[in-house]
């Protein structure tokens, strides 16, 4: 495949990560990208001394999150739910997601935490669903992005500089 084409695809993918319109309903939701500026910071840290930095961090994020999500599902499945533990897990997930810049996951976690404080079981379950959903969405996109990057590099091109301005 032509490098230029892949590069364009990459641009699209990046764009879609940052600018996402959820649904063009009569009441338009806020424009919230999957990733925020933190991710760009991470990209900046990647250089010759640390060529695989982003990939490493992203993989670590996936592992961590999946583990946490499993733990959360477990904890909420119990008869006597230990909200403190649930809260601790969600806190961890929030920390990870904000470090990597996955802002929708982070926002979902924030909502989750408030319901934990209220000890509202149904709401917590709903939140868990949402967090999972968001996580899978961002995971897919990131995997696509990283795949494209590998392809570009493999084809000898260079990854375009992304200027964000809206």
């Amino acid at each position: 495949m032509e490098v230029g084409q892949i590069q364009r695809q990459w641009v699209d993918c990046m764009k879609s990560l940052f600018i996402e319109v959820s649904t063009l309903l009569p009441t338009i939701k806020t424009l919230e990208g999957f990733l925020d500026a933190q991710f760009l910071q991470l990209k900046q840290l990647q250089d010759e001394t640390n060529p695989e930095f982003v990939v490493e961090v992203v993989s670590l994020f996936f592992e961590d999150s999946e583990r946490l999500l499993a733990d959360l599902t477990n904890a909420l499945d119990q008869k006597a739910i230990d909200f403190k533990k649930v809260d601790a897990h969600v806190h961890q997930l929030k920390g990870s997601s904000s470090s990597i810049g996955a802002q929708r996951v982070k926002n979902a976690c924030i909502a989750f935490r408030s319901f934990c404080e209220e000890q509202n079981v149904d709401a917590c379950l709903r939140c868990l669903q949402q967090v999972k959903q968001e996580y899978f969405l961002v995971k897919t996109k990131l995997e696509t992005l990283l795949g494209l990057e590998q392809q570009i590099v493999g084809a000898g091109g260079s990854i375009p500089m992304m200027e964000l301005s809206l």
Partner: protein
């Protein structure tokens, strides 16, 4: 025994008999008088001359006794009788002489008693007369008081006057009493009120009659002739002599000439009160009656003035009530309008921005796709128009907030030079398209850093420079920025501008000169009015919403400055100048609470090569990310995922420990233990907390447990760079929360 008595001649038996009888009666009288005296003295308690009476009594008794004894001497009598007789006579002689002597003393006394009595009687009569007078005066006083009371008990003009006449008539038993008031023209006196006749005829009399002038010239009651026009009120009663007439002036006070200190001397108009005694009564006007009349006239004047004042104040009060009502209504309307506008604006804000963002976002995405040139042009136009629209919305919102006064400027330290450079960078593309030169000149004494609202300052500069570029077709735009000296403010163009500076402030002056189409000097005042576009077709109608300069002006005003535009005329370009007040970052403040934001660009050591840093965080991803940042900066990073691990690994080689304190209290505990481990201060690593919490409690706790610093997540590379250099320089860094 021989008796020495001479026998009376025998023919005198008749005489002897009469003598005998007379003596007898004398004796009787003489005896009864003292009895009477005694009786009456006993009756009277106050008689002071008892002693005299006793003497007198004795004298009379003895006289009586003598005469009694004399009865026996008419016939032959014995010696005993003669002796008794002699004794009696001797005693009588003694007593009577004594009494005579005593009387010399007491008769003058008795006489003086009489005179005293006379004197007292006279005095009593005099007092009676005076009593009569006082009583009369008191009566008069009572009448006056009553009159006054009656008069002053009402504040209605007519009632006052009517009452006056009635009461006066009653008190003084007048036949007629009348009041003449000046007409509107002031040239005549009109009969306004009378006592007896119910309907005044509406008679008028010219005011300048001598008798009237005479009365008006004094404040005393004046006796006038019953034949003068003002007194001829009733039909001539025939044979009787008309009673005496008295007239008095009543000062009428208008509000305009009511002067407290001069009253009532400066009255401009008077009324005339005429009082007539009953005809044929031969009564005269007494002095006290005249006084009464004068007093009443004064009281009436006062009462009338009060009535006038009351009327005036009632009128004023009614007026005020009306005005209050109107103001209230106006205020409510204004409030409703403001509420409506605020509601409108807040709705506008949200509802309009959201679709706009969608439009802009999608148009820009559309731009990136495959488009035909035609389509591309359309999309570009759409994008341009929507950007303009968003700007307009933002401007309108800003402006309304500015006008409300709800906009507050931020105050932070920023790089002044870079603001200008950024503006130039932004405008350069546009300028180069139009082939305009863009020059920037920053004065050498212009501080690099300043305290103020960076965003709004940039907005202002951008707007001004943008305008300059927009309206220039050729030539160039030059920007000059320097520190304004206080003397330069005595500029005629900025009246009322009093520069107030303290030591850490300065005035920034920016002049933007363009070589464009210039402005008609007449249009200059309207430039800063919102929505006003100048009428001239050649200039300034190539877009723009007319709000830009208005907003700039308001920002400049908020920054306590001034903005103005000069132009020599059409085609001669124009110069926009503004002055704003900015703060100077104080050198001494920095060490206390250094602003992390200020470290922009590459300041300080950028390579912390080999700096040993320990980072504690229990979240794997965060650990990796932050480690990446620190490694990027060249540090030698050790990570720990728990307090125990941290304590195990920490050594005196580590210069800084970054601790994520989101996880709770164990972090603070750890600080204690590290302090214990490293007793010597210079060996101890600096402990800095990393937190996402923006509440003061966290900061206070950090300070309390003895941490050396606190920074907020997220930490970018630049921020970390700044943080490390600060820490190494000052050994403390607490980011403001």
């Amino acid at each position: 025994m021989d008796c020495n008595c001479i026998e009376p001649p025998p023919g005198d038996e008749l005489l002897t008999k009469y003598q005998y009888i007379s003596d007898f009666f004398i004796a009787l009288a003489y005896f009864s008088i003292p009895l009477e005296l005694i009786y009456f003295v006993k009756k009277s308690a106050v008689f002071p001359y008892r002693w005299v009476l006793v003497q007198f009594g004795a004298f009379i008794v003895l006289c009586g006794a003598t005469h009694l004894i004399n009865l026996w001497t008419f016939t032959v009598h014995s010696k005993t009788v003669a002796v008794v007789m002699t004794t009696a006579k001797v005693l009588t002689a003694v007593v009577s002489c004594a009494t005579a002597l005593l009387l010399v003393h007491i008769i003058p006394d008795l006489l003086s008693v009489k005179t005293r009595e006379l004197f007292l009687k006279n005095k009593a009569a005099e007092l009676d007369r005076e009593m009569g007078l006082i009583r009369t005066q008191e009566e008069t006083g009572r009448h006056v008081r009553m009159l006054t009371h009656e008069i002053r008990s009402t504040l209605d003009r007519h009632t006052i006057l009517k009452t006056t006449l009635v009461e006066l008539g009653r008190t003084l038993a007048l036949e007629e009493c009348a009041l003449w008031m000046p007409t509107r023209t002031g040239l005549e006196l009109q009969l306004s009120y009378t006592l007896r006749q119910q309907n005044p005829v509406g008679y008028t009399v010219p005011i300048h009659l001598p008798v009237i002038n005479q009365v008006f010239s004094t404040n005393r009651a004046v006796k006038i002739s019953p034949n003068c026009p003002v007194a001829r009120l009733r039909p001539q009663a025939g044979k009787y002599m008309p009673g005496e007439v008295v007239a008095v002036r009543v000062p009428l006070l208008n509000l305009s000439n009511f002067q407290i200190y001069d009253w009532p001397g400066v009255s401009s108009s008077y009324a005339l009160m005429v009082l007539m005694l009953p005809s044929g009564s031969a009564r005269q006007w007494h002095l006290y009656e005249l006084e009464l009349v004068e007093v009443v006239a004064d009281q009436v004047a006062v009462a009338l003035s009060h009535a006038a004042i009351l009327e005036e104040s009632m009128r004023a009060r009614d007026q005020l009530l009306e005005q209050n009502g109107a103001l209230d209504r106006a205020r409510r309307e204004a409030e409703t309008a403001i509420h409506a506008r605020n509601d409108f604006l807040s709705v506008m804000n949200h509802e309009m921005r959201t679709p706009m963002h969608a439009v802009i976002a999608l148009s820009s995405l559309l731009q990136e796709t495959e488009l035909t040139p035609e389509q591309r042009l359309m999309v570009e136009t759409i994008l341009k128009s929507s950007n303009l629209l968003v700007t307009l919305i933002n401007d309108v919102l800003d402006l309304s907030r500015l006008e409300d006064g709800s906009l507050q400027l931020d105050a932070a330290t920023f790089n002044l030079h870079s603001v200008f450079k950024e503006v130039v960078n932004l405008i350069k593309p546009v300028a180069s398209v139009k082939k305009l030169s863009l020059t920037l000149h920053l004065a050498p004494d212009l501080p690099v850093y300043a305290i103020g609202d960076e965003k709004r300052l940039m907005q202002t500069i951008l707007n001004v420079v943008g305008n300059a570029v927009k309206f220039s077709k050729e030539g160039g735009v030059s920007i000059i920025a320097f520190v304004a000296k206080v003397e330069s403010f005595r500029d005629a163009r900025i009246p009322d501008f009093i520069p107030v500076l303290n030591d850490n402030q300065f005035y920034l002056r920016v002049q933007v000169k363009d070589s464009g189409s210039g402005i008609n000097p007449q249009d200059i005042p309207t430039l800063f009015t919102k929505f006003a576009q100048t009428q001239s077709p050649t200039a300034r109608n190539s877009g723009g919403n007319g709000l830009g300069l208005a907003i700039c002006k308001r920002f400049v005003n908020l920054m306590e400055g001034h903005i103005w535009i000069d132009s020599e005329g059409i085609g001669k370009g124009c110069t926009a100048t503004f002055i704003v007040k900015l703060g100077l970052p104080d050198r001494s403040n920095e060490s206390k609470a250094p602003f992390v934001h200020k470290i922009l660009g590459n300041h300080g050591p950028t390579n912390f090569a080999g700096l040993k840093v320990l980072f504690l965080d229990d979240n794997g991803v965060s650990r990796t990310v932050t480690k990446g940042v620190l490694v990027h900066l060249g540090c030698d990073v050790t990570t720990a995922s728990s307090s125990e691990e941290c304590l195990r690994v920490v050594s005196h080689e580590h210069k800084v420990i970054f601790m994520d304190v989101c996880s709770g209290i164990e972090g603070y505990d750890l600080v204690e233990r590290i302090h214990q481990k490293f007793t010597k201060r210079q060996d101890r690593p600096l402990i800095v907390a990393l937190t996402g919490n923006t509440n003061k409690v966290t900061k206070e706790t950090c300070v309390r447990v003895g941490m050396d610093g606190l920074i907020l997540k997220p930490v970018s590379v630049d921020k970390m760079r700044g943080v490390l250099s600060e820490l190494l320089e000052h050994r403390v860094l607490f980011e403001t929360i």
